[in-house]
Structures are given as C-alpha cells and as structure tokens.
C-alpha cells in the first residue's frame, strides 16, 4: 500500500509544457524537427538557466569572496546560494561538503590524487567495474602507476549487471577505495550502489560514486547511500558545461591535502608556510566558474520543480516503450539489458556500423551517439567496436521514440 500511495503522489509530467522551456528543442536539423536523443552526452538547457546566466553577466558579474563592493557581495551570495541548493538536492548535506568542480572528471581526479595517492602503498587495491567511463578508469590507472597499487576490475554479466559474487570476492583487507558508476553511460545499467557501499564499508574501504548519468535521472541521496564521495557534472542535469560537483564527507575532505594551489584556497600565505582555507574552499583554487555554478543552481531548481520522482517514472515508461519496440525489430540487438536500467538504449543493427546508423538518423533530424561512448573496455566485453545509443531525458516524447524507430527502419531498408 505504501508503494501505491507513493505512486499516486507523483504527478504525471506535462511534457508538452516542459518542452517549451527548452528553446533548443524547437530547432530543425537537416530540414526535420530535431529529435534529441543524446542526453547521456549532454542535456539541453531550460530558459531559466539561460536567463540566469544572462542576468548574472548583465547585472551581478564580479569576483567572489574578495571584494567589499556590492557586486562582489551579490555574486558571492548567489554563488553560495547555489551551493546550498545543491547540498539540499543531493540529500541535505553540509555546504562544506559540496565542492564545485569543472565536471565529473575533475571530481574523480581530485579524489584519486588528494585522497588515494597519499594513502596507497604497493600491495593495496583499487577496485572499479568493467563498465566504467574512461574518466573513472584512467585517473585510477594513473594513481596506481604513481603508488604501485593494483587496479582490480569487477566483471559484468551478459545483461550488463555487476557480478556481485565476484565483487565480494575482490574486496579484501588491502582494498583502499572502490570507484563505481551509479548508472552506466554505455549500457544504462543502474548498479546496486547502496549494497555496494555497505559491502565496501564492511571491508573497511571507501567508495567514490560516479554519478554523471544518475543525477538527472534517478534520485540521489548521498546521505542515505552513505557515499564517501559522489561526483557529477552540471551539463548532464540541464546546467552549463564546465560545471560539476564533488560531494565528500567532511571527515575525509578535512584530512586530504589540497588538489590545486592558488587563490581562494588559502587562509594566509608567506614564503615559509601557507595555511589552507576551510572546506570547501580548500579545494577551489582560482576564480571559479561563478556564472556556471549559479546556472547549475537554476538547473537544479528546475529539476526540483518538475520532481525527480516524476522524471524517473516518466523516463522508465519511455525506456519500456523503446525496449518493446526494439524487441519487434528483426536484426536489432540491445546491448545492456539489466533489470535495473536508466533510460539509455544502446543497440546494434545486423550488418550496419553504428556510424552509418548515426549519419542516417541525423539526416532524419534524430540525434544519437554512435561509437564507444568513452567506455572501450565494456565495448570489448560485448565484442563490439561501438554501439548506437539513444538516451532519453524528461522532455522526450513517445512520438520521438517512434521517430527513432522510423529512422532505424530506414537504415535497414538502405542496407538491405
């Protein structure tokens, strides 16, 4: 009964109205109305985010945490208000624990270099999964090279689900950190991240969650998850590019050395000794992406207004419909059939390379991603060089799913 009442409380999305919030969706591409199905790469921006950026530059632009003048105070207030909104959005954490970054990649590199590097010794293990994005592989390879630690990889099954037995077997007394995706960008698989975090904590290690694909599509509550670090990008949740957040537990962040040195991250500097600033500023050297951070705050306000639960429920329906349609297409193979999936449909067409699929769909105005999705190891796991990938967001419609499948039929006719 609890489930039922929860479902009832989720209002259905008025997608037609939401679409009007995103000016870019009115574009025509190659003479056809744009069907934008590349949301896992980046999302489009609502008018409220564009207005926020414009307003900031037109009325508030100044450097933060520096000036005594009015504009500087105004810019600082908005910059910090956005941080507070983000802290609340990801589970009501302290603003000290919300570090602005340039994106998921820089958040992961920060943890690899400032948390893992001083800690790791030869014989220690770093654990990742076989379906990580390159940005959650390469930073760990680098830190393993620097320290002599070993990189262990949790395999996935044919559906694209983590092999949890193998995962438990890999965890050992020398496991220091586990870096795991929340949602796979190439397959759409949602990992059992709460269970993973519990297992890792029981083994005495910490977890970094790559939330790039999760943040706009599944609810994220880092406190309930008990995540140690959680990284995501602003541009994948309708915010500006070049923005992102690293959440970290204050107790861990406090013990970590700064990642980069510069202005704003210091309390006092002499040539003999520098005292670092308090959290989160210790990790924010240099003039930050002020407009971007404020724009990200506006994006999160937009998502809160629509409702994360409603977004997830609607995208589930879109995915279910697309998956049903895919099953009816002869010669179409879906890569990634996990029971728990976000709205990503990665696929192959018999006898057709993903690039040709991409070009022909683009000619119909349908934008998808074709290639290895910066996740070459998982492509190799499935024995493919790349896939075509349609990824959905709250503004996509069932008609757009139909347009995708019309395009796929056209590809197949052409390559018959």
């Amino acid at each position: 009964m609890k489930m039922d009442s929860e479902v009832l409380r989720i209002p259905a999305l008025d997608v037609a109205a939401l679409r009007r919030d995103f000016p870019l969706l009115a574009e025509c591409v190659n003479g056809k109305p744009l069907v934008y199905l590349d949301n896992a790469a980046t999302t489009q921006k609502p008018q409220s985010v564009l207005d926020t950026l414009m307003h900031y530059y037109a009325h508030d632009n100044a450097n933060v945490h520096r000036g005594v003048h009015t504009l500087s105070q105004r810019a600082t207030d908005k910059y910090e208000a956005a941080r507070a909104r983000i802290a609340k959005f990801i589970g009501g954490v302290s603003t000290q624990e919300v570090i602005y970054t340039s994106g998921t990649t820089s958040g992961i590199n920060l943890v690899a270099q400032s948390y893992a590097r001083p800690l790791l010794r030869e014989g220690d293990d770093v654990v990742i999964s076989a379906m990580e994005h390159h940005s959650n592989i390469v930073p760990w390879q680098l830190v393993c090279l620097q320290t002599g630690a070993a990189l262990k990889v949790v395999p996935v099954n044919d559906a694209g689900e983590l092999e949890m037995d193998e995962f438990e077997r890999l965890l050992g007394p020398r496991t220091r950190i586990v870096a795991m995706t929340h949602v796979s960008n190439a397959l759409g698989s949602i990992t059992p991240i709460a269970q993973i975090i519990k297992l890792v904590h029981d083994a005495g290690a910490v977890v970094l969650v790559d939330g790039a694909q999760a943040i706009a599509h599944v609810g994220v509550d880092v406190r309930t998850l008990d995540a140690d670090f959680y990284a995501f990008s602003g541009h994948k949740i309708f915010g500006p590019t070049g923005t992102g957040v690293l959440y970290g537990k204050a107790a861990l962040l406090d013990r970590m050395p700064p990642y980069q040195g510069g202005g704003d991250m210091i309390r006092s500097v002499t040539f003999e000794k520098t005292e670092y600033n308090e959290l989160p500023y210790k990790f924010e050297a240099g003039t930050p992406n002020i407009a971007g951070a404020i724009g990200l705050g506006a994006a999160i306000e937009y998502v809160e207004r629509v409702g994360v639960g409603a977004i997830a429920a609607y995208e589930d329906e879109l995915l279910a419909y697309a998956t049903r349609r895919a099953a009816e297409v002869r010669g179409m193979r879906v890569i990634g059939t996990a029971r728990q999936k976000a709205a990503i449909l990665s696929f192959m067409l018999d006898g057709v390379h993903a690039h040709d699929v991409g070009t022909i769909l683009d000619n119909q105005g349908v934008a998808i991603r074709a290639g290895h999705h910066c996740a070459m190891p998982i492509m190799e796991r499935f024995g493919v060089a790349g896939t075509a990938r349609a990824s959905f967001a709250l503004y996509n419609t069932f008609e757009e799913v139909d347009a995708l499948f019309d395009g796929i039929a056209r590809v197949q006719r052409l390559f018959k």
């Binding site: 690039h355 000619n363 290639g371 290895h372």
Partner: protein
C-alpha cells in the same frame, strides 16, 4: 532519402561494403601498417607489395563502417599497378576531394569519385581517409600505428 544522403550512400559504396575487394592479409607484403580511428574504435591494416617502384599487390584487413570499408576496398583497386610516385598525387587528390567545400571544383578521380559525397558530411571524412593515411604510413614504413587524429 534526401539527395545528400544519396550522394554519400551510392550503390557502388554498398557494393564495396558488402563485398569488399582485397579484404585479406597479404603474406608477401613488404610494407604494412595499422590505422586507427579513435572516434569509433575502427582499425584497419593495409598490406602493400612493392617491386621496382610499382605497387604489385595491395590488400586490407579490418572492419568498419560502410564508408571506411568501401574506401579501403576501392583504394586497393585503384592502387594496383600504380607507380609509387603517382600514389602521393592520388592521396592528395583523394584527400582534397573529400575535404573541399561541397561547391568547390576538384579534379575527377575515376571510380574513387563515388566517395565525393563524403565532403557533405564532415563527421565522416575520417572514415573515408583512414585507409589512405594508413597506406601512407605503410609506404613510409612507420612502425607505430597511425591515427586519424
């Protein structure tokens, strides 16, 4: 299908994609190189047998998109019996043909003209030129794989 798409996917392209010519390893090759398009992960190996400054035989291995495969296949056909000194000219002619603006004139290249439509699809130029860049590397005897980047 709009006219641009028909320019790209001509019948002859599909023919070479479905039945690629000289799609094998060449045991007696005295030049070979591997090429890689990091954008899509496609790989191609080009084998060339050169005697007395003339390409006696040429073949390729690897699988890719229709454009990359057809381009490699058509390249092998165009090269057999060519003098090495003509190959460089042909490379530049082909490169200019697929990268020049759609309204620009570029000299005809015989059967290779079927790939002229690529220039209307900038995202696909690297697919068409991968085999040619790899050929150059093979003839210059670079040991390391070439990349389209």
């Amino acid at each position: 299908m709009t006219s641009d798409l028909r320019d790209l996917y001509q019948e002859v392209i599909f023919d070479h994609y479905k039945r690629p010519r000289n799609n094998r390893a060449l045991e007696e090759a005295n030049h070979h190189a591997q090429g890689h398009n990091p954008l899509c992960g496609d790989k191609v190996t080009i084998y060339v047998k050169v005697d007395d400054g003339v390409i006696q035989d040429v073949a390729f291995e690897g699988s890719g998109c229709a454009i990359a495969t057809a381009s490699a296949s058509m390249m092998t056909e165009a090269l057999k019996g060519r003098k090495l000194e003509d190959v460089e000219k042909l490379f530049h002619g082909f490169h200019d043909m697929v990268t020049s603006p759609p309204d620009a004139e570029s000299p005809p290249l015989g059967k290779l003209d079927a790939l002229r439509g690529v220039r209307e699809f900038p995202a696909r130029v690297k697919c068409a030129t991968l085999a040619w860049h790899t050929l150059q590397a093979a003839l210059r005897a670079h040991d390391h794989p070439v990349s389209t980047e």
